[in-house]
Every structure is written in C-alpha cells, then in structure tokens.
Symmetry: C2
Subunit: 249 residues, 2 copies
C-alpha cells in the first residue's frame, strides 16, 4: 500500500492510496490512533471514490463515530486505467438510455465484468487496511453502497465474512436473489419510491430475499438521486449500533 | 384541567391530570419552564395512557429533546368509566380472535365508536395543554401512535391542523384511505413484516395513500408487538427534525 497524498481538514485525515493497481481513499480521525471499526463505501455507477455520495457519508462516520472509512475506484472509473470492456458496455447502455429504451442485457454483463475485478479488489483492500495501525485487524467492518454500490455490495457482503453490517439499496437486480439470501448480517435497505430504474417490487423482492434476521426497509418519496439527507444520519446510527462507537481518539 | 398527582424521577416531571372526564398524563423536563413543542402519544388497543409503549417513547422525547409529551386514556380503557358499547364490541372481537376467526365488522365499528369520542377529546386536550406555561400555544405539535393508536392517529392528524408531524403505523384499515390522503405533514410510517393482523399490502396501501410529500416507510422483521427498539430512537430524531430541538430548560 502506497500513500500518494495526505491532507487534514476539520479533524479528518484523508489519505489517497494505491494498493497495487487499486486507487483508494481512507478517512480517519486526524487526532486518532489505534485500531477502530471500518466502513467501506462503494460508489455509484460511473462515479468514483471521492464523489459527493461517498464523502457525504465518510465524514460523519469519522466525525460522529470515530470510524475509519475507505473507498476504492471501481474498474474503469476514477483513477483506474481505461477498461475497454466496461467502456464498450457503458456506451451501449447510455445509448439505450438516451433513446429512452430499457438498458438491456448489457447492464447485467457490465455488473458481472465490474464485480469480477471489484470484489477481489475490495478483499485485497481489506487485507491491506487491516495492517494499518489506524484500522487494525479483527475490527468490525461495515459496508455502505447504493445503486451500483448496492449491486456490488450485495455480492461483496455475501462473499466476505469480515463484513458484519451493511446499508444497501436502490437496486432490484433479479440475479442477486441468491447472493442476497446468503447475507445474514444486519441490513438497512433503501428504496426510493419514484426510482423508475429500480421499481418498488424488484427492490422489495431483493429485500425480502435477504437472509438477515435483522433487516429494515426504508422507503422514501422521490427519484433515484433524491435519497433524503436524514438517511445519512440514519446510517450513522445504524453503524454506531452494529460496529460499536469508539471514542474517536 | 385538574392535576391529580405530580412526581419527578430522573429529570422528568409526570403529572396525571383530568380535563373534564378525560384522564391524561403529561411529561415535561423537571428542570424546565416555558413553552416547548408537544408530542401526543396515542396508546394501542386495550392499553392505557401509562402503558410501556407510551412511557418508553415519552421519556426519551422529554430527556433528549426537551419536549412536553401527553397521553390520554381512550374510551373504555385506563381510568375511564366502563363503556358498554366498547365492552360489547371488544368481547365479540376477542371471542373471534380466541376462535382463530377474522375479527369481523365489529373491528371497524369499535374504531368508529372510540374515535367518535377520542378525536374530540384529543382536541380538547390540546386546547387545555396550550394554556399551560410548560407547553404553550402555537408550539409545534407531533403525534405518535401505532396499531389502534395509528388508527386513531390517522383520523386525528387528518382533522387537526395543529399537528405538524406524525409517526404512525401497524395499521392497514381500508376505511382510512380518505383520511390518509388528507394528511400532508411529514410522516414516519411503521410496518412489521410478520404482523398477521396487518398484512404488508394493506399497510403499504395506507402509506401510499398519505398525501404527505415527506413520508418514510420503515419495514422491520417481526410480529405486531416486535417493533425494534431502534425505532424509538428513529422517532426521537424524526420529531427533533420536525418539531425543533429545545434546550430542555
């Protein structure tokens, strides 16, 4: 793991790093040292590891709970090299969307291509972060991801026993049913009631499929990109409950 | 309004009162004075104004937010006189339940009989509490009620413009659709996914009918009486957002 830059602002230390080819970001309390719970945040489709949707969660998780938070670029996004297959599939999907057509089978194909690299990359990242003094091994780990970050999250949480709680949602892919059924950790699952790309029935079917004994669906009015800001606060409290508050020091 | 008893414990003042024939309870910060937001809590069927389901919400609302909280006995419960019609209908319904039969048309009849007295009684209570120094008029007012407290709440919030935010749920009565549609204030709506008496589809139909532009459905695993305790915390934060925190003084 190579730290390319380190900045401190408002009590939060941001480290941009690479682990091999994986570009990542790590946020920890500036004043803190020693092991602490970790939250992984998976960004949305076409976004990157420092997008607003990531940082707006990362900062309160660090400030309110003293957690470490990490995010990595998905293949073909952010500081990753161009990924010809991702690029080809995204072009087809965007063309369909522009024409007002359904995204077609390339959406699942894209998810599979991204996941084939991203899931092992998350696991490599977990291994590497565990070796840092400011994270440590054996600490509770959470995952937060909506939309494509939810799609990847369901696959990752199903595969990765180190993750003990997850906020997921804005996704209803029928091919995730089996992965969802393998998830047994507490989940907060988000649904936007006017999300035309992820209809209520498909999202709820995935929620129903989760194998978790503690799972909560939060359904809010509004479109895909209109998750209410109070859901950030709710996720802070969800992770505080399940990963344990630290004293931030 | 006549205060029959006053006790202080753990920083909370509890006053048991009567307004005419209405038996009520008021909780306020022991150290506080002056006007403050008010939350009305409607108890569940067959319960009363000091039931655990009421007190477990009232105390954190007072302690965390400095709110005043009030609860009144529904007709035929708690310190109210026996109500022959309520008694007759409850006996029929309980007989059906004991036999494993559907509750039948008497459930709606019971709700109508209770509401005919309880809704005006809540409004009388609001008038009277507004005259107290520790509550005051023109302050934001919230309502919390699940199950029969949700049934009554939908009717009350639809009728009472002083109520500006509500936590409701565990109810799916089809006859409440029109009342629900008249509600326009922010609502947090609870659904228990294994609540056999209030099936998901009926509860969601009522949630969908709400006229509110801000409404959130919280669906949790478990039966009717198994609302997770973190939903109490969520309601604290909902009311803090919508009624405004006070300094508790």
């Amino acid at each position: 793991m190579r730290v390319a830059s380190e900045t401190v602002a408002d009590g939060v230390r941001e480290q941009l790093f690479t682990i091999g080819e994986i570009p990542g970001a790590l946020w920890t309390p500036a004043a803190g040292s020693g092991p602490r719970p970790l939250v992984l945040i998976g960004h949305g489709g076409g976004q990157h590891r420092k997008e607003w949707g990531v940082v707006s969660r990362a900062i309160p998780y660090v400030v309110s709970c003293g957690f470490a938070v990490a995010s990595i670029d998905a293949p073909g996004t952010g500081d990753r090299p161009e990924h010809p297959e991702v690029k080809r599939l995204v072009a087809i999907i965007q063309g369909r969307e522009a024409a007002g057509e359904p995204v077609g089978p390339e959406w699942r194909e894209l998810c599979d291509v991204v996941a084939a690299q991203l899931i092992p990359d998350w696991q490599t990242t977990l291994d590497a972060l565990g070796k840092l003094d400011s994270v440590g091994e054996g600490q509770p780990v959470g995952y937060y991801g909506l939309s494509q970050g939810g799609e990847m999250g369901i696959r990752l949480v199903a595969a990765e026993p180190r993750i003990t709680a997850a906020v997921l949602g804005l996704i209803g892919s029928e091919w995730l049913i089996d992965d969802a059924a393998r998830i047994t950790v507490p989940v907060e699952f988000l649904l936007q009631l006017d999300d035309v790309g992820n209809p209520r029935d498909s999202v709820m079917k995935l929620f129903d499929a989760l194998g978790s004994t503690e799972k909560t669906l939060h359904a809010n009015v509004g479109g895909h990109f209109r998750v209410p800001s109070f859901e950030i606060d709710s996720s802070v409290r969800f992770f505080a409950r399940h990963l344990g508050r630290t004293d931030g020091s």
